[in-house]
């Protein structure tokens, strides 16, 4: 409704620029409550997202807590040089990208599948029940999830390890196994977030025009045909949107999770950019280097978002903007 109003009241007549200006104010005034509602949101972004950006300056400083941003010496690109010269750099990037990629691929499909399955459920109570149960793990912290995984997989007392040992199949030690570490991250992430991810697709499914289904039935389409020709195209935009958003965070492989699951035997496959930044920034107080890594991460993220958006548009989707 607001959009319709706006369209009507912004006449594009250069001759009537004065009246145009007045009309602009009138529109503004008429929609003042909507603008007011925007203020908290804008203030939030300004305060917590844009203002802290000034802090990226310390990426170019030998930052000292006592001297602060104004007093710390400028060092140009030195911090970035430290990062790129670090022998750990490429393994870190490799681990981060791989874990992220596995998670993006591994997570998107289960989200959609769960949403599609729930969409086909006829009984309302059953649907709510399944939704509640699958949504639940999203609220658990990673510390608790780690505790659960530990009680299943710990080499000595874990439920599964004990079962395997008692069955005579030998001793398993999955939590310190380099081959199993990344799959374990993906699996636990799927377990924790699928219920939440499905909600977005359920919303998208609910917004598909029912007449399309009716028309498809008239044309003789069965359930699978409807799914293929109506449902999936109906949620394609949301799917692409989620993909772009996730690709933007490709260097965020999930600090909370990895930090807790990491141990000395899986550093080589599990140490990611964020755990490194934590060690550098918070344990060694080298905030300049840590911030430089953050800036690098953001730049890569931005490139990926722009790239993914362009790609999405190219293959016929709508993209983000």
């Amino acid at each position: 409704m607001a959009m319709a109003e706006q369209a009507v009241s912004t006449p594009r007549n250069p001759a009537a620029s004065r009246t145009g200006k007045a009309a602009g104010w009138r529109t503004f005034y008429r929609n003042r409550w909507f603008y007011l509602m925007m203020v908290p949101g804008l203030a939030y972004y300004a305060l917590f997202h844009y203002a802290p950006m000034a802090g990226t300056l310390i990426a170019f400083q030998d930052f000292n807590l006592m001297k602060g941003i104004w007093g710390s010496p400028w060092v140009g690109w030195d911090n970035f040089r430290i990062i790129f010269d670090n022998p750990e750099f490429w393994p870190l990037i490799r681990n981060t990208l791989l874990i992220s990629l596995y998670k993006i691929v591994g997570n998107l499909i289960p989200d959609v599948l769960l949403a599609l399955m729930l969409n086909e459920v006829r009984h309302r109570w059953f649907k709510s029940l399944v939704q509640t149960i699958t949504y639940g793990p999203y609220f658990l912290s990673w510390v608790i999830v780690y505790g659960l995984v530990f009680s299943f997989l710990s080499p000595g007392s874990g439920l599964i390890s004990t079962f395997v040992r008692d069955a005579g199949w030998g001793q398993i030690d999955l939590m310190t196994n380099q081959d199993f570490f990344r799959p374990m991250l993906v699996l636990t992430e799927i377990w924790k977030t699928t219920g939440f991810g499905a909600i977005i697709y359920l919303a998208a499914l609910a917004s598909i025009n029912q007449e399309l289904y009716e028309a498809a039935v008239v044309d003789g389409a069965g359930r699978w045909r409807q799914l293929w020709h109506v449902t999936l195209p109906g949620i394609r935009d949301v799917f692409v949107l989620m993909l772009i958003l996730k690709v933007g965070g490709i260097l965020d492989a999930g600090f909370d999770q990895v930090f807790i699951f990491l141990n000395a035997r899986v550093y080589e496959v599990g140490d990611i950019v964020d755990t490194w930044v934590y060690r550098y920034g918070f344990e060694r107080l080298e905030f300049g280097v840590a911030a430089a890594m953050g800036v690098f991460k953001s730049v890569v993220g931005l490139i990926f978002v722009l790239g993914a958006n362009k790609l999405a548009k190219k293959v016929g989707g709508n993209g983000l903007w």
Binding site: Q171, D173, N263
Partner: protein, 540 residues
């Protein structure tokens, strides 16, 4: 109507701006100082202006500790009245997380006025200029009581640069309560004698694993467990000591020995692998996060554990001790301290590890805060402060007759022990050692059984590992990184190579690529500066 709405909009915007303004820096300290000067200025001119103090403290006794509400907190009240301050004290169990939290506060520009930090961490704070020079504030005249706990010589040796006073030693317990503990009832059941050397110990622990000591018909017990925290091979393993390594550092044949990176660690690794192969060691030892290993002991799953300093493991009088928790599940459970090896020295006497630091911000902008904070520290280390922060209020929680302090157990348990053990927060400034101040504690909760246990643990042979000195790695080298690589190699040898045979090669990598030789050559130099008469050989 329109006007009303307009007013509402402005009100909303104003509220928002106020919210934003609140997130600005804290200037409360000065504000309250002004406010109070007016109140007290008239009749009590001697009383100094009220100050707001922020402290951050930590030690090992602060797990599960919570301060009571302000009206119950008689220590806070005593301090605030005596020194005319508003004391805000942050507390947490000592460790990596504490320092991460502290670092976050420092990075956020809200450095506590006085804080406690670990030895290595305090070096970093001093290098970065976060900790202030205390030469002017911290002297035998300004803190007379403190010097009953720590000597001037120790303090001087503890400084990073001679002649510059940047960190004070947090008074610490001299004796250590390191001990292994064993299930005496399992020994009895399997008719075994307490082990006295490594071979006997291996045999006993094998029996604990294979002989079904808990009698449930299942092979579900292990001889030994530890908590590697997913990182390292802890000192819990008696193999360290069995190969002659006492704790972390020592001096042998006029040379500094860094125990965990010595060439002879190969023997330690081989013997640990041997135990693992024999099935003696709980396979969770590496991933266990402390205190998971003590939990397993309490659950009756293992027969031997180690504790580097917690003296309560086998005590009856502490409700949460391993002994009491084990007894709740198995009435026969009987944990006893044991020294299962035949080596002359078991552990080292404690060395100062935590420092009291004062933030530069406070020292430069409000030196009065530093002065007042240190006055409070001195009071906390005095007899009055010690008694209040360890045993509560006189007459209520304890009675004092001469030098004998008798704990009123009922009141103490109700108001303090069962109310979150909160006195520990203020008690961090002094160890629980009344004898330092010439007093003796009579605590009726400590039974004959417990007294015997404490005596045994205190009596285990210990030595002073190094002369009083603070070892500082050369500029630009991070000791934490070195230790991390070291631990990775230990773990790799044990769990991947399943042998110590590659250790010499790993060690060489540690010494060269990770700069071990530079670090320990520097340490030797620093030790020689203190050991004037008897010089150490160069580190090899």
């Amino acid at each position: 109507m329109q006007k009303k709405k307009k007013k509402a909009v402005w009100l909303g915007i104003a509220a928002l701006m106020l919210l934003a303004a609140c997130s600005n820096g804290n200037t409360g300290g000065e504000k309250s100082a002004e406010g109070n000067a007016g109140e007290t200025g008239g009749n009590e001119p001697a009383k100094p202006a009220k100050l707001e103090l922020n402290w951050s403290v930590a030690n090992n006794m602060l797990a599960n500790v919570t301060l009571p509400s302000a009206d119950q907190d008689f220590v806070k009240r005593a301090i605030e009245e005596k020194f005319n301050v508003d004391l805000k004290i942050d507390y947490m169990v000592f460790g990596e997380e504490y320092h991460a939290k502290l670092n976050a506060a420092l990075a956020g520009g809200s450095a506590p006025d006085l804080f406690i930090a670990g030895g290595a961490e305090s070096q970093k704070y001093i290098d970065d200029g976060i900790a202030a020079n205390l030469s002017a504030f911290f002297t035998e005249t300004t803190l007379p009581h403190y010097f009953k706990w720590v000597s001037k010589q120790e303090l001087d040796a503890y400084q990073l640069k001679q002649g510059e006073f940047t960190r004070a030693i947090l008074p610490f317990q001299r004796n250590t309560y390191a001990s292994w503990y064993i299930r005496q009832d399992w020994l009895d059941k399997l008719q075994l004698k307490p082990p006295t050397n490594y071979e006997e110990l291996t045999n006993v622990l094998t029996q604990f694993t294979k002989g079904d000591p808990d009698g449930n018909g299942k092979a579900d017990t292990y001889g030994f467990t530890a908590a590697g925290n997913g990182l390292s091979l802890p000192f819990d393993f008696p193999q360290w000591l069995n190969n002659g390594f006492v704790a972390d550092f020592m001096i042998v044949d006029d040379a500094y020995v860094d125990n965990r990176t010595d060439l002879k660690v190969e023997g330690v690794l081989d013997q640990v692998v041997d135990w693992i192969d024999k099935g003696i060691v709980d396979p969770d030892w590496f991933l266990n996060k402390p205190p998971a290993h003590h939990d397993k002991a309490a659950q009756g799953k293992v027969g031997m554990i180690f504790s580097p300093g917690d003296k309560t493991v086998a005590l009856d009088s502490v409700a949460t001790s391993v002994q009491n928790r084990a007894k709740a599940l198995d009435p026969n459970a009987d944990w006893k301290p044991i020294y299962p090896l035949d080596k002359p020295i078991m552990w080292k006497y404690n060395v100062p590890e935590s420092s009291i630091l004062v933030s530069t911000a406070a020292a430069e902008k409000q030196p009065e805060k530093v002065k007042r904070s240190l006055e409070i520290v001195d009071w906390l280390t005095s007899e009055e402060g010690f008694l209040l922060t360890h045993y509560g209020q006189e007459g209520k929680h304890y009675t004092k007759d001469g030098n004998k302090v008798t704990l009123n157990v009922e009141a103490f348990e109700a108001d303090i022990a069962k109310a979150g053990n909160w006195l520990n927060v203020y008690g961090v400034f002094t160890p629980d050692e009344p004898q330092v101040l010439g007093m003796e504690l009579i605590d009726s909760r400590i039974s004959e059984h417990d007294r015997a246990i404490l005596k045994t643990i205190e009596g285990f042979p210990k030595h002073n590992a190094l002369p009083p000195v603070s070892l500082v790695p050369p500029e630009g080298i991070n000791i934490g990184d070195f230790r991390k690589e070291m631990s990775k190699f230990h773990v790799k040898a044990i769990l991947d190579d399943k042998s110590g045979k590659n250790w010499p090669q790993y060690r060489e990598e540690l010494m060269t690529k990770y700069k071990g030789r530079d670090i320990f050559t520097e340490y030797t130099k620093q030790l020689n500066a203190v050991l004037k008469d008897k010089q150490l050989r160069a580190f090899e």
